[in-house]
Symmetry: C2
Subunit: 153 residues, 2 copies
Amino acid sequence: MDIESAPARLRELPSWLINQAALDASRRVTDELSTVGAHRSHFALLAALDEFGPGSQADLGRRCGIDRSDMVALVDRLAAEGYVERRDDPADRRRNLVILMPEGRQRLAALESVLAAAQDHLLEPLSETERERLTALLTMLVTRRPTSLTVDG
Amino acid sequence: MDIESAPARLRELPSWLINQAALDASRRVTDELSTVGAHRSHFALLAALDEFGPGSQADLGRRCGIDRSDMVALVDRLAAEGYVERRDDPADRRRNLVILMPEGRQRLAALESVLAAAQDHLLEPLSETERERLTALLTMLVTRRPTSLTVDG
DNA sequence: CAAATCCGTTGGCAGTGCCAACGGTGAGCG
DNA sequence: CGCTCACCGTTGGCACTGCCAACGGATTTG
């Protein structure tokens, strides 16, 4: 698409830059993950389960930014693949308890390394400190807090 | 969605941060533009016409990152609104010449100010220098060149 | 003149982020 | 206790976006 030849007013528009970057990032990550038959949401859910332990679909979805209606098929699939189990929560019969299985932990590690490689390709034009700066700035942006620990970093 | 409560492995994943930022940015920009009955692609096309002069739909699309199949409806609409004109290119009868009308130039200015406000809201958590850094980093990322004029910026 | 390339246009497809609504369940409060 | 409200999983659907394939027509290349 040759971004260099885009109109200056587009090239200088932060929202447009962010969007283009996200397009590129999504393509790369989706491609890499598809080589191992995974999707982005798979990593998100497995990571959430690993870090927070078993939880309801709604909770896990809230943490990952996944709508609870989309969680249904997601848990279906990861359960079918043996990475998680969906059980009835005895303490609250409205809820399902989603549980990370040992195979899921392994899967998470595999996806993690695939993703690490994808990040590396994605961020290839940036030096190590530039990557850290970008991550810090995006974190501020996304959390909407001027943490500003990076006055000089 | 409370990003702070997301799994650390998600919060620290650049591709995920970029995606979340793009989601937020798109929502804001789309919302603001919708108040004046415009879409993101409208600004892109008008800016391209203003900067490069009349051009074929394919050319303009290439510059803006818009598929040529999507350009059809876009030009249809902007032409119906009187902002551009679609003419036959006498020099090459395969092409249409898309031309910016005076009303289009005015429209561009209007969209520009709407967008400026949206950028400001979007980037509100960042200081001025942080905004410049972010823009520079994203530009490097998107153009895929380690320009690195920002060693200290 | 033949083949390859480009054009605009139509139609369609997959992924994503949502929302509404439902029956079932739990919590709070009178 | 009963009533209301909020939550849960699930289904179904919607709009938008970024793509791709294919077509007839026009142009360029060889």
